[in-house]
Symmetry: C2
Subunit: 115 residues, 2 copies
């Protein structure tokens, strides 16, 4: 049982695993840092503690971003999309967002496009 | 059978439905416009035609963005994240990205955060 406010919980459309994808963006530069996943409790913690918390699908546990790395994400704004199935979390990222040490998880690989 | 290049297909980690979430961002302003989903064929079309194509989970068909609305997304850059399970598609969005008429799918709802 999550502590998420019922009026917010009612608006969420979750995957079969009970998760919602969260696009994480640096609030001032607009960089897309990573994509995380939240269940109701992770969203509740993100909204109420000021620090971004996710559900780790690989470890199957809550993941307070920066808890071990120190690369904390301070929450500035959280938005829900038109369908209620995606979150946009605007943060102030300390240090690297990516576990590889890159600033964002999208720095390393560009795919070839036409032209 | 998709036409996606095998070296790219090998790097993708898909959901049980064979999909990868795609964060869609306006290339110059940095606005996050929407989240779409791609299977291998949708990614192939996006990379090779210059127009963003998704797999519509609700309609269970390919969705060439702007085909009916005219709100085309011209592809500028496509990146794959460190885990191979999320795409970042930088586009030039014509008109509104959201079916509600909003510029982005995240314009309407801000959730209350601490402080």
């Amino acid at each position: 049982m999550s502590s998420l406010a019922p009026d917010i919980a009612d608006r969420l459309k979750r995957t079969a695993d009970g998760l919602v994808p969260a696009v994480v963006q640096q609030h001032d530069t607009g960089e897309v840092l990573m994509l995380g996943w939240m269940d109701d409790e992770a969203l509740h913690r993100t909204l109420t503690t000021g620090r971004a918390t996710y559900w780790s699908r690989s470890r199957q546990e809550y993941w307070l971003k920066g808890e071990t790395s120190g690369h904390v994400q301070w929450v500035k704004e959280v938005r829900l999309d038109c369908d209620g199935d995606t979150l946009l979390v605007k943060v102030d990222q300390e240090g690297a967002a990516c576990h590889t040490g890159d600033r964002t998880c999208f720095d390393a690989v560009e795919l070839p496009t036409r032209g």
